[in-house]
Symmetry: D2
């Protein structure tokens, strides 16, 4: 990490570039769009803009920059996400009731912190601060992806289906399907180079894998439509008990954002409401749906270890791929001290791991060891299916 970040002008440039990217995503949002929280798992776009800024203010500027003046004392209360160690905060479910500060004030906040941090970078940063800065940037990139999910959800629930002026475009999965065979044996899992990674990837360790085969491509929309048409959503034998309850209670019969109009499947995308393209990978499925689809095919989802080992041999990065691994600590996982220790460890229960990255993911997050994780019923993320057997 040292060599990458030592040159202060490169550090500053990278900092500003990532910060700017967040605003680029939001540039076509109206002020009315940014304070809304249509579901508890969604955060208002304004909140993302401010929270990622607060992270730098809280963990770098107030801590290390002498004479730093906090932009607004109330913002810690508004824009802390879940760091119990840092104090009281607006409850997650109430983020959508804060109309103030306005978008324009939040953008001023971003500018202020950008300037202050740019200045601070120019003075030269210690290794320790560079590390926190890097976490802050990776964190902001994670929120860029969540921003895209949340904006899509906010727009996708409205009859007017607004369009976002930011391109997020899937590619066709045109290669013919092949199953790549992997030999049994001991493999090494986890992060193993000098580049940045999150604590949950660390503790490189051995796992024993049995022989398996994994698909070279994702399940496509036309394949998934076959599943729907074969009655996949009506056959309880394909589903987990929890999954069956989930689709029954919510009356689901297709992925999120799908609409059947005159017997043709359509889909809301951030770039328009369109007829389904059968060659694109199926998106916005829950873990339950991914599992049921695999059951129906007589196959299964790969484990996260199988996925990581095989990942050099296929293209990934279109959609996060549900694995059949629960999100658990690696052997010898250790939490970071202090507030940043709340980053990952406390979520290691009741979630499943996804691997591979999506078109909404920052490119450097698409590394093979990256562990994404969500509850089994989440569908608003960019999630797809890769089969194994």
């Amino acid at each position: 990490m040292e060599t990458v970040l030592k040159n202060t002008s490169i550090v500053k440039e990278r900092f500003l570039e990532i910060r700017n990217q967040t605003e680029l995503i939001c540039k076509s949002l109206q002020p009315e769009d940014v304070s809304i929280q249509p579901a508890e798992f969604v955060s208002p776009p304004k909140w993302h803009l401010a929270h990622s800024t607060w992270f730098f203010e809280q963990f770098i500027l107030t801590k290390y920059k002498s004479d730093y003046e906090v932009f607004n004392d109330d913002f810690a209360y508004y824009f802390n996400s879940y760091y119990n160690n840092v104090g009281e905060r607006v409850l997650r479910a109430e983020r959508g009731t804060m109309t103030r500060p306005t978008l324009s004030e939040v953008l001023k906040y971003r500018t202020y912190v950008n300037q202050q941090l740019s200045e601070f970078i120019t003075e030269g940063l210690s290794e320790e601060i560079l590390n926190v800065l890097e976490i802050g940037l990776q964190h902001e990139q994670q929120h860029q992806e969540l921003l895209i999910y949340d904006i899509k959800y906010i727009f996708g629930q409205q009859p007017s289906f607004p369009i976002l002026d930011f391109t997020v475009q899937l590619q066709k999965e045109t290669q013919s399907q092949q199953f790549i065979p992997i030999k049994d044996g001991i493999y090494e899992i986890g992060h193993n180079n000098n580049a940045f990674c999150f604590d949950n990837e660390l503790g490189r360790h051995k796992v024993y894998l049995h022989n398996f085969e994994i698909s070279n491509r994702l399940v496509t929309n036309s394949e998934y439509i076959e599943f729907i048409e074969a009655g996949g959503y009506e056959d309880f034998n394909l589903w987990h008990a929890d999954g069956w309850t989930f689709i029954q209670e919510n009356a689901l019969n297709s992925p999120l954002y799908w609409h059947n109009i005159s017997d043709k499947w359509h889909q809301y995308t951030l770039n328009g409401f369109v007829e389904i393209d059968g060659d694109l990978p199926v998106n916005h499925v829950s873990f339950y749906e991914a599992f049921a689809y695999a059951q129906w095919k007589g196959m299964r989802l790969p484990t996260e270890f199988e996925w990581e080992v095989a990942s050099k041999q296929f293209k990934h990065g279109q959609l996060w791929e549900w694995t059949n691994s629960a999100y658990l600590p690696y052997p010898n996982y250790t939490k970071v001290e202090g507030a940043l220790g709340e980053y990952n460890g406390k979520f290691m229960v009741n979630q499943m791991v996804l691997r591979g990255g999506s078109i909404a993911t920052s490119k450097n997050h698409c590394r093979p060891t990256y562990r994404n994780f969500f509850q089994t019923d989440m569908r608003w993320l960019f999630s797809g299916i890769r089969l194994a057997k």
Copy 2:
């Protein structure tokens, strides 16, 4: 009504004045403020702006104006409130998830309908249309009041306590308290002149009242603080069973918007966060609290009939006054035919009547026969207490 409205330029002027008043209330709102719905009983300000406009479009322009072009076909879906007869609509609880149309589009909608209706008025209106126009204007005035309640609630839940640039100011209740005696006998109740009224005021009829006495003024903040300090919120004997459950489940110990800071009661008002003025009438109490206060004083709330009969003898119009009358139809009440029949009748259950008008009420709505009504646990309206015995 005829004489008032016959002259088209007067009609148009009145129409535009009332329409303008709605925008005046909203002039200091930011776009972020207008799409929010922090509780199901609150509607987003943008929704009020558009719904009151849709009312004129739906019930006058599309019905009577030849060649009228609807501003936007989708708006009926967005901005119908509860008229089942007029078609599908956004569910009340989901009004706060519609970020589009934006405030600016809604203001364009208002301008368009204002122009179209002005034009149409100039052509001269039949008695029938004049009647609907009048209902539309009365309806808009009702929404002006709801706008003030809703804005206050949206702002009052935020730690920054924003201020609205629109004056809504209570007067002190300085007159010394007297109880006005009213003799028993048969009295006439209900609307009895040519001015506008709602259907729920009609069916003028007789009621028999027994001797009673009614206070010449509202209960003040300092009187209410005595009740709080005497343990009023802890003594179940003062409360209805439902009321006791309500304050227990919500952990209430004061009116809405009250905050106890360093042992002094403060209050959020639309014009600032201030220390309580003991001489102002107590505001934002539920029916349950009004009832418990009266019990504590060894008195009671008046019935709506007692209130109406006595109302000539005291000042009212500061706050809606909870009565101990349930909202029920008058003898021989008849619903209007068609969609407007949904205006009042279907709400005549599970609510209590309030009388008198508030500082947020349009002046001409403060007539003695006007019947306002709310559920017993509502506190966000401008509601106060007048004692009887």
Copy 3:
């Protein structure tokens, strides 16, 4: 009251007769049936058996009988219903989780209190105690009726539809329908003789009634089936807004306990599962359904005052009859001091009055001034419809 109760052997006999009646209702219940609470508004039969006993123990024996030994100190906690003044108690919603004391212990409790109270009566009672005794007996009779409702609900939710060995039988409403005209004028309302009544009937007072007409009989099943078949449950214009929500959310299309089997309406009764008899009065309708039916007929429900005034002119006592009057205090209503003051007053909100008594009601409760009251969505009581216009 004095003369009626002075003779101790008559007092004792009446006491034991009423007490025995409660056990008669329950005689065919199995121990499994008596601890169940399938809905919050239902109490387990065992609870009724014990609570009505506790009432005598708490308000007479422990208070007035020297050296009285409480049967079991814990029972006050188990079997207090809602008397906040008498201490902590099992929450209403948790009554159904108490499997102990068993039915046999509760019957021992009844025997013990019966013996103790018989003894105490033999010693001679003061006027004051006689009054409380009378309330206790009236109270027990009210619980006899609730027992029948609750047993029917417990049995009626089970596919085996058990039968109760206790006759509760409606009569046909065979008389041809006539509307009895009542002249306008001042009438007196409320209890007006020396027999027992509850505090909510007191405060005899004047009301002014306008001309009205009231049916000489209840609405029958076959009339109600016409309403169903005419689409009454699908036409929102007939319903209160709350009522429409209620039937939509609960997917209702008929009275409680009705089942449509091969296009014929059947009904669970305590004496068997039978095909609907069209001549019997329709039973188990909510206030909302009673109101909607009346709307559909172009008529209305009577007020409780109209009902009381007209009641001498028709047969009643088959089913409690929904009125369009909210349950509110009469002028000059005053709560009794102490715990018994919680009997009625604190429920005078959010409920509607029913008049007339039912086949499950103790005969002496069917007096014309008796005010029964329930929430608008309750259907498990024995409730019917009488039309007015």
Copy 4:
């Protein structure tokens, strides 16, 4: 399996012995106790008695015994648990509303099926049927354990804390604590002999384990009290985010059935309400609490693979031991065809594995490969904590 079961008299004897054990557990229950369901995860004892019987009737007698007459056609509806393939059933949450059939009828049902099946066994069973019989017996033994959990919960929620006449007694964990070291390497996991096992134990396979150490005994009550007294329930850093929410929302500060009386911890047990014995293993903790305790000790919970490998070296079988492994299929896990395929597979999500067996477990279920599983917030099972590092 063949050799064990071939002799029909041994088969019959074992069948009747296991069946009898179920009734032994219930022998001191009152009829009032058996139809109650105080929480959705609890089933009424009567239901267990009947459901385990239905299992034999459904999967053996009706399928294989010629001329078998079903005891009661309705019982399949009442007593099917979750087998979608076998038809409609009483919803889990409504099991506690069925007062009929009574306990006595259910016991007749048991006798009838016992007789019929004994007869059938005497005729000699094919391998296939013997297999289903064995599953039925294992299934009944699982329900014996659930019966004990459910009875304890039903009794433990009542102020009278009834005692069960059936001994379930923990032993002291008196051995001094040692951490057993296990060497890294490849280990074999899963069932590997001819005795019965469930499908979720099959697919014996290799795993790679790193060096670890595991405690020779369970955490004791006195150790757990130290955790409580050190503020373990107040320090969010020790908890999963979900766990913190769970203890906050339920205001938990100790294991289930613990009561602090005059500063001493007491505990409801099936054999009485007693002061906590510090040397007994801590029981009735959720996964969240087990995890938090381990965090507080600076250690962790073992994985299920570590546990299985190390299990020969320590005593187990007192309490099910939470592992940090999610309940997932082993490599090459395959579901059984037909209804019995619903036994395990569909629950392999959102649960954690427990190992080792408890004092409420049938002895032959305490095998090292047995995989028990529950949601992370369950506390009514007999669950304890073993530390690893």
